[in-house]
Symmetry: C2
Subunit: 429 residues, 2 copies
């Protein structure tokens, strides 16, 4: 099949998938989990081919580590599918109901989006997580993984496709894209694809966003800040700052800039330097460098996502100044204030424009699993549809359903009848 | 101010607007209503200038009628604002809350989208409705109305701006665009504008969608269907069909194609012809023309939004056939089934992919006011964020807020602590 055919098959399947009930979807998910478990040997074999080729090609150790998909990781994704089965069906929930008039009832009911195109990095776990989240939410999915993992991905795709279709999933609901050309073609398939979820390097995500009319949900930059307010508690704050910067520096939710209120600067800056000493390189503004001996930072630092053991530090005059800096240079991802002052915290969380705003906890918490969503398809810095970690809810939308008995608009336009517009607490069944 | 400055001013204001409580926004709305009422004379005067010029330019009567904005219509929009005051604040509602662990709480709280760009047709009412909906939902707005209404729009804009800013609204929250060049420039302002709501001709909306990276919510086509199932009740169905086609033919929710189940064709088609006789021109498929003498339809008719006293009629073999036709040619706007069979109705409503799916009522009901939303900024056929009539809810999104007490991710990564993930029924305050 070429891309167009794959897209059309996925679209066709999505209409049937939308009508599957929660129980049927869970039966399919269980059969996928079983098939992955039963075929563990052949998955490991395919993965070994990818690993050997990538080693030969001299791929860096961190990438090889992510690429490795052997027994423990396979058991991990199988466990993941089993916990997904336990989650409530996100489809078919009534979120609004209204009696428009006697015998005329309106319901807003959640439903799948349709067809989702996902481009993900070299971790084969992502293929399993994303396709099972799409199935649970009733969406068809077109998948494109990193080329390093091509053998593993093809094997996983075949197992998931065969197990699901053999168990009631509509043929065509899952499709594999294998080349960059496929991705380029997908970007123009407005008629078949409803949403693109790109994961990967900033430049790549930006490229996707700039080159498609299809809605894109994701994030390019992850420039997260931690702001130390004038009254911040020292021990608590240092613990959070250290975690936010160093717990996993390559993550999009790692803190890249620390803002320090001028009233806290003298006390805090030497301590911050101490905890990072020899591990994290500090780039400070002019006022920072009055207190500690660090490299100099300029505006380009405020715009940089290091994804490394590096951090920018800036002294700000006030909480307003901190908020302004974040709303100017932040990427609307995850932003934290460290303070004992509830009023200041609430103000910060209200005025900072970001998907996640935190009080006294590490920005590293921004993640679908940690948020209790089971898993995530990605993190969104978009301003519409879904923000922050995107789980099952972000893969659904709604449709209105109205039940009448011969009701016509003319009766209301001519004032023969008057709308009741009475909110109901009733689910569509 | 040039467009870039207008956009930046709107963005700056949007951050403050987001923090206004419901009461403050209602006070501003009331002051706008009062100012519009108090300035009725000057509004009517400006409108007269537009009307005189447009008459001289030979504008068509229906456009002149929509352009006219005198006492009754002004009183109408003032009433509209007063009912908007009564509606619940859509901002600050907690829609999800979870205890992540002891002392670590996550909340999902609704918030404004930010800055909305709206392009609307020649009705000056739209300017008032849209800007008051944006204010109530905490969004800054950039407005561009039809050039026929330029004097009226400028006057309304000035009154709304002065009354709102004089009463606590942040300066810059409302901006007027006056030229097509402004609109073209707006399409490239990804950094300042979060969402575009275009209203107007299909070609224009399509142009906007194709020429901006900013998310667009709206609809270009409104190809709505009414499907007559095999067991449809004759009297009820004819009443609905007549209303759906003729109640207001220029509306996007008017029915353009009637699908008739073959088992109902012999009985229904002559009656359909009778009710439309001399008023609505019928274009029928081959099988339709075996029963009634009408013009011939081909595939181009299934793709046509007439917005006129014209209708396509097609005989379908089954409900599946009807669903397939709609999912192929429909514009995902509003679709109706006429039947006494509940199971058939539910199946149709589940499988048809549209913002609104109806059972035994006119497609003309698809409208924010009729749905009980107070008003609407438009109708969306998008698959993400908001579908169907878009009211206050569609102008909001959410942010996550997390409250901790020095919580760090490393404690969970190292298994020193385990997540609780316990759903709460608690609002963020």
């Amino acid at each position: 099949m070429d891309m167009k055919q794959k897209g059309m098959a996925a679209k066709h399947a999505s209409l049937e998938l939308a009508a599957l009930d929660g129980n049927s979807k869970n039966i399919i998910l269980k059969s996928i989990a079983k098939a992955l478990h039963d075929n563990m040997g052949s998955i490991m074999e395919s993965n070994s081919i990818d690993l050997r080729r990538s080693e030969k090609e001299g791929l860096a150790a961190p990438i090889l580590k992510r690429l490795k998909f052997q027994q423990d990781k396979i058991e991990g994704v199988v466990d993941g599918i089993e916990s997904l089965v336990e989650l409530e069906d996100p489809v078919g929930k009534t979120t609004y109901s209204m009696e428009i008039d006697q015998g005329l009832e309106l319901f807003r009911v959640t439903c799948p989006i349709g067809v989702v195109g996902v481009i993900f990095e070299s971790r084969p776990d992502a293929l399993v997580q994303i396709s099972s989240l799409c199935l649970k939410s009733g969406n068809s999915v077109l998948l494109k993984g990193g080329s390093e993992a091509s053998e593993t991905n093809r094997k996983l795709f075949e197992i998931i496709r065969d197990a699901s279709v053999g168990c009631g999933a509509p043929e065509g609901w899952i499709q594999l894209m294998e080349t960059r050309g496929d991705v380029a073609e997908m970007l123009g398939m407005d008629d078949e694809i409803d949403l693109i979820l790109p994961r990967g390097s900033n430049a790549f995500v930006k490229y996707i966003m700039d080159n498609s009319n299809i809605p894109v949900l994701g994030h390019s930059d992850g420039i997260c800040h931690t702001y130390v307010h004038s009254d911040a508690d020292m021990d608590k704050s240092l613990k959070v700052i250290y975690d936010a910067k160093t717990q996993y520096v390559a993550a999009c939710n790692a803190t890249e800039t620390i803002l320090v209120n001028q009233a806290a600067a003298e006390e805090f800056l030497p301590e911050i330097k101490k905890i990072f000493d020899g591990k994290v390189e500090i780039f400070g503004c002019g006022r920072t460098r009055e207190y500690i001996d660090v490299k100099s930072a300029d505006e380009s630092n405020w715009k940089t996502e290091y994804l490394d053991y590096k951090v920018s530090v800036k002294v700000v005059e006030s909480i307003e100044d901190a908020i302004k800096h974040i709303n100017t240079y932040g990427s609307r991802h995850t932003e934290c204030i460290l303070t004992e002052d509830e009023k200041a915290a609430k103000r910060f969380m209200a005025l900072v424009d970001a998907a996640s705003t935190y009080w006294n906890c590490s920005t590293r918490f921004a993640d679908g699993f940690r948020y209790g969503f089971g898993a995530e398809v990605g993190i969104s810095t978009s301003k519409i549809h879904a923000r922050g970690p995107v789980g099952l809810d972000g893969l659904t939308i709604y449709k209105y359903k109205m039940l009448g008995n011969g009701h016509i608009v003319e009766d209301y336009a001519s004032k023969k009848k008057v709308f009741k517009h009475k909110r109901m607490e009733k689910a569509f069944e």
